[in-house]
């Protein structure tokens, strides 16, 4: 839908690089993501996709280049400030707060949108109670949205794998992001769970959230993406509509080697 020229750019990455000593994990990456898009990043293992996500979200500082998010420069900002500006993410290896309940996990996700510090809870002020109630209501609403309504009080570690992935998404959504970044959301899922997750990602977009994801299952990529970026050796080697990208000889070469092409 939204690679149309009218859509506003939400994320602009200019000449971004992340080097580790001599290793150019990410190099010379230029790309733009528009509001309302679902964009996939694909590429062989070690292509720099997760490193790219890590630079976007402030886990790494980046070596060079610019990240403009919603018109503001965000490269090198601490992660919590990037989250506050409206970028939230999930992880390739699920990272939940394992011993908190599903509800508490999502409530933690509301951190940047809430403000009570020490005095509110100590004196049990009405402002504190109101904020707690609103946080809880919002968290419950999000758990229902991702389909975990019945598991509100279950500890994260006791949830099934697919449910844990969804809980991570709910926690990320709790920070009210403009851009949701998903690092291999269907990794380790069976086909039914994958289909379920694709539906959820579409629903997320319907809420007005732009989605950027790393994905390995080509069926999912073809099904869900408006556009695809292809990474190889830290460099973006192709971009475009899914069906154009898979027909691109450079992309086939990256995946299968020169002989295969």
């Amino acid at each position: 839908m939204s690679s149309s020229p009218k859509a506003r750019p939400l994320l602009e990455v200019k000449d971004l690089a992340q080097h580790f000593g001599g290793l150019k994990a990410v190099d010379q990456v230029n790309l733009t993501i528009h509001e309302g898009e679902i964009v996939s990043v694909i590429g062989p293992n070690g292509a720099g996709k997760t490193t790219f996500f890590n630079v976007l979200t402030g886990v790494y500082q980046g070596t060079r280049g610019e990240i403009l998010f919603d018109g503001e420069r965000v490269r090198g900002l601490p992660s919590h400030e990037i989250v506050a500006r409206g970028m939230a993410r999930t992880f390739q290896n699920i990272r939940l707060f394992q011993d908190m309940t599903a509800l508490e996990n999502v409530m933690v996700g509301r951190h940047t949108r809430t403000s009570q510090l020490l005095l509110g809870p100590l004196l049990r002020t009405s402002a504190f109670f109101e904020e707690e109630k609103a946080t809880e209501a919002r968290a419950k609403e999000l758990l229902e949205f991702v389909g975990l309504k019945s598991l509100v009080n279950e500890r994260a570690r006791n949830l099934a794998y697919g449910a844990q992935r969804k809980l991570e998404i709910a926690r990320a959504l709790a920070s009210e992001p403009k851009l949701l970044i998903l690092d291999e959301p269907t990794a380790g899922m069976n086909p039914t769970e994958s289909v379920d997750l694709v539906k959820l990602v579409r629903k997320v977009r319907e809420r007005g959230v732009t989605v950027l994801l790393i994905e390995h299952q080509m069926r999912v990529v073809m099904d869900i993406s408006d556009r695809v970026f292809v990474f190889d050796y830290g460099v973006k080697i192709a971009e475009g509509a899914p069906k154009d990208v898979v027909a691109n000889p450079r992309v086939v070469e990256a995946y299968l080697g020169k002989e295969g092409a």
Partner: protein, 320 residues
């Protein structure tokens, strides 16, 4: 069980039981019990404090006793300069908080064993400084503290007075801990303990929240130190040795990290048993009291690694 421990009723029943102790001591004609109660109370305060850093956030802090010392010496010095006692206590808390915040800013980039070593080092440096800063602290000879008799309308015996004051401080400290635990700040602290990276990327400024827990814990240490100095009317560097820091860590671990009820029970056992054993056991048994003490720790670690009364979350983590 968890619900019972967390209920308001349990809290008030325990407060009532604590208030009865002086009466019981009177009836069984064993006034030493009140002194033991006071000491246990001070360790409860210290352990509730350490529970913020070690329990909720999971920071390994082996020099907590230094802040108890700072609280005690601030009180002693303030009293020497004729500051009214309640103001001296307030000063003790403020100075302790400031010292701990300053230390936190410098060392909270460290984690795990590195943090443990540095805090341990700070504990020793603090003690040695007190030992050698004769002009301010009177060095190893210690300092007299002007007498103060709080709650004189309630009891004549100063031991009972301080026991009641300490009990009130413990009740207040436990209630405050409970309120913070169930709030945005408490969730952020536990989130950091569970997964620091995920906490950061959920929007929590991790460094700042660690510093906050670190600083809040100093309120407890400063207050406990101040009450200790006032009660004993004498402070010496000998009261603040590394062993005491280890004892507080043991209390939190034995009781259950992050569990208020657990920490209180841990203090009751680890700070209460040795003096009671010393007072009641026959002379030939006294020499074995640390052996018994060590045996308790070993058994608990073996059979109940999550602590005696683990917090509900902690219990799940270690049982799976």
């Amino acid at each position: 069980m968890t619900r019972l421990l967390r209920s308001r009723w349990t809290f008030w029943v325990l407060v009532a039981a604590a208030l009865c102790l002086p009466l019981v001591a009177n009836i069984v004609e064993f006034p030493y019990l009140v002194r033991v109660g006071g000491v246990v109370g001070l360790f409860m305060l210290l352990s509730l404090g350490l529970n913020f850093t070690l329990g909720y956030v999971g920071l390994f802090d082996l020099g907590f006793i230094a802040f108890y010392a700072i609280g005690a010496y601030t009180t002693a010095i303030a009293m020497k300069h004729h500051v009214p006692a309640p103001v001296a206590l307030l000063l003790a808390v403020l100075v302790t908080v400031a010292a701990r915040a300053a230390l936190g800013v410098t060392i909270l980039r460290l984690r795990g064993d590195y943090l443990a070593i540095v805090t341990m080092g700070f504990g020793e440096i603090a003690r040695l400084t007190i030992n050698n800063l004769d002009a301010l602290t009177n060095g190893p000879k210690g300092m007299q503290v002007r007498s103060w008799r709080p709650l004189a309308f309630l009891a004549k015996d100063p031991n009972v007075q301080f026991y009641l004051l300490i009990a009130a401080a413990v009740a207040l400290g436990a209630a405050a801990s409970r309120r913070l635990e169930d709030s945005r700040v408490g969730r952020a602290w536990v989130a950091i303990r569970e997964d620091e990276v995920a906490a950061r990327l959920s929007g929590i400024p991790v460094q700042r929240y660690m510093l906050l827990a670190f600083t809040v814990s100093a309120v407890f240490a400063g207050l406990a130190g101040g009450l200790f100095a006032m009660w004993e009317q004498f402070v010496t560097p000998e009261s603040f040795v590394f062993w005491e820091s280890t004892l507080i860590v043991s209390i939190v671990v034995l009781g259950g990290m992050g569990s208020i009820a657990g920490v209180l029970l841990g203090a009751l056992i680890l700070a209460g048993l040795p003096p009671l054993m010393q007072a009641t056991l026959s002379t030939e048994w006294i020499n074995y009291r640390y052996l018994l003490f060590g045996l308790i720790l070993v058994l608990v670690t073996l059979f109940r690694p999550q602590g005696l009364l683990p917090s509900s979350r902690r219990e799940a983590e270690l049982n799976s």
